[in-house]
């Protein structure tokens, strides 16, 4: 009976159409549930399991976390990350701000300057690290060049010096990331009300002073955002160190992500490697959760102010 089937088929079809948005999202939701939730819980479980070279999912307690925090390698890696992260973020913010202010002076060839300062970001950490390793290495790089032009006592061997190697990583990291800071800060500078600057200028303030006192303080949320993103980069830093110093000399430039890889795939201590991975996640959470809460709080406050 066509009179009967048509409405049911239509309503069935209607239902399917109503659910299209959810159905479309289903594959991604499924993948994200596995990737974000299941994989995280899985690694978390491995970290408290009895796994060594091969996974053994029997519960083994939190011993691997204790062992991790007692190992010299991890504590050094952790301290390295702290020093590297601090200098890397501050350095990138400083250079990025400087470049953004310079470009903001209505300079000629703005597009060219921007392109030059931002291109490192398109290049992989592997390429960046490999290239700077050659430049920093005393046998092939700056020291060699200085010696060859006659300055025989010139010494520049930071990359093979235990005390200085980490600063090579910091420098290279800043070279890679300051263009990113520049791009975001420049966008912020362009959003500052020009009248504000004019008023300060009429008051007789010099340009550096105007930037320090008037312009930069008004775009502080951008600095917070850039800091959070850069801290994230810092915590995840892996490729750059592998290509540049391989964590050495000794453990001088070892960072947590390198320890994770070594434990999991070189030393056959899967559980402890997973514990180290969880600690990286914790580090990210310490940076990101306050930021997300803070942006949410600010958005709500702004909404109240406008409503």
């Amino acid at each position: 009976m066509p009179e009967n089937t048509t409405p049911t088929r239509a309503s069935w079809w209607q239902k399917l159409t109503d659910w299209t948005p959810q159905l479309v999202l289903l594959p991604t939701l499924f993948a994200a549930a596995i990737y974000v939730v299941l994989f995280s819980l899985w690694t978390l479980w491995i970290s408290v399991s009895q796994s060594t070279l091969l996974p053994n999912m029997a519960y083994g307690g939190f011993g691997e976390y204790a062992a991790l925090w007692q190992s010299k390698r991890w504590t050094v890696a952790y301290q390295n990350l702290f020093l590297f992260g601090t200098l890397y973020v501050l350095g990138s913010l400083f250079v990025g701000t400087l470049l953004a202010i310079l470009i903001d002076q209505r300079v000629k060839f703005e597009a060219m300057w921007r392109t030059i300062f931002l291109y490192p970001l398109a290049i992989s950490f592997i390429v960046t690290g490999t290239v700077w390793r050659w430049i920093f290495h005393p046998q092939t790089g700056v020291e060699k060049a200085l010696n060859d032009v006659g300055w025989l006592s010139a010494q520049f061997d930071w990359i093979t010096d235990r005390d200085m190697a980490l600063y090579v990583v910091v420098f290279t990291g800043i070279w890679h990331a300051s263009g990113f800071a520049m791009a975001l800060i420049l966008a912020g500078l362009r959003s500052v009300d020009g009248d504000l600057v004019k008023a300060a200028q009429i008051d007789g303030a010099s340009m550096p002073r105007i930037y320090r006192r008037v312009v930069l303080p008004t775009i502080w949320p951008i600095f917070v955002a850039v800091t959070v993103v850069l801290l994230q980069f810092a915590i995840k830093t892996y490729d750059l160190v592998v290509a540049l110093t391989q964590g050495g000399p000794g453990v001088a430039t070892t960072v947590p992500a390198i320890v994770v890889y070594d434990l999991m795939f070189e030393r056959g201590q899967i559980a402890q490697g997973a514990a180290a991975a969880v600690m990286i996640l914790v580090g990210l959470a310490i940076v990101l959760i306050p930021y997300v809460l803070w942006t949410g709080w600010r958005a709500r406050k702004e909404g109240q102010n406008h409503g």
Partner: protein
């Protein structure tokens, strides 16, 4: 917008003439200094791809080149040996290309539809769905290495390019969904409402309204995904080995594990091959690259 008000005032054109000149000299001097610092590695490496090995060994990377030859490029592309195979960097370049192109297309395609569904078709718990997908942006790769290795093994994708395509697609969808959702939120809801009253469904609105508005965000996604996946190292190293590795892993294997004679000129050319495609994409789409940064980072 605000840019216009800012435009009206020229900080370098104020004060006395001498002060103006000094200010200009400082600004351009500093810009030039940093530009040289940023460009010098690129210049040094490109130069050394043309120099004979004994000259590099004798004089280091930073010196005036004498003899120049382009043969090292050829050697880097198809000659040097890595782990017993002597085909240069080309097989790894191909691996990366075969990994990057499908993963970029897939993750962008999913991201556009997801972003549209999440921004224009509100439903119960939609913010939770969005939140879950976005978490993938922040999850460190280390948390997923062991599960991926296991899952790819079960799927028969261990040590294959297909496995890496899957990994990068799943991870990339988080980024593209975030980008597209934030972009489509700005599309007026009235436009969608009017179309729905006219009887247009999900896909027709997508085709007629959303897709024509999408090119800028599509370009952002493609550039972001292409450069990100092309440059990725950790997954490639952990999940593949030997001749199935992407170019980043091959570069590290080639220039890192050097026992015996180093081939700096060939290594330098191989490094350039690894850097060239994302650099090219960046140069032709720089504007969108920056836009991706701002929308991905701040939101």
């Amino acid at each position: 917008m605000a840019e216009a008000t800012h435009e009206a005032f020229d900080p370098l054109a104020t004060g006395s003439r001498r002060r103006q000149i000094r200010a200009k000299a400082t600004v351009y001097g500093l810009l030039l200094f940093f530009a040289l610092l940023y460009l010098s590695p690129l210049f040094i490496i490109v130069m050394n791809t043309f120099r004979p090995l004994e000259e590099i060994v004798r004089e280091g990377f930073i010196s005036v080149p004498g003899l120049l030859s382009s043969q090292y490029w050829l050697e880097a592309w198809s000659g040097f040996c890595l782990g017993g195979t002597c085909e240069g960097v080309s097989p790894y370049f191909t691996n990366t290309l075969l990994m990057t192109v499908p993963a970029t297309i897939l993750s962008t395609a999913f991201g556009v539809v997801n972003g549209y569904a999440l921004s224009k078709w509100r439903f119960k718990y939609d913010t939770w769905v969005f939140g879950l997908i976005t978490l993938g942006v922040f999850l460190p790769a280390q948390m997923t290495l062991l599960p991926w290795a296991f899952v790819l093994g079960k799927l028969g994708l261990a040590n294959t390019i297909g496995g890496l395509v899957l990994v990068h697609t799943v991870q990339g969808v988080s980024f593209t969904t975030l980008f597209c959702r934030n972009y489509f939120v700005a599309v007026p809801d009235d436009l969608i409402k009017a179309a729905r009253i006219d009887g247009a469904g999900f896909w027709r609105i997508f085709r007629r309204i959303i897709l024509p508005l999408s090119p800028p965000i599509l370009i952002v996604c493609v550039i972001w995904q292409f450069t990100g996946i092309w440059n990725e190292f950790l997954y490639g190293t952990v999940l593949t080995s030997g001749t199935n590795q992407p170019i980043t892993s091959a570069i590290v294997a080639f220039s890192g594990s050097g026992t015996g004679q180093r081939h700096y000129n060939v290594e330098a050319a191989a490094v350039i091959f690894a850097a060239l495609p994302p650099l090219f994409i960046y140069l032709i789409g720089g504007k969108y690259f920056v836009r991706g940064l701002t929308s991905g980072a701040v939101k």
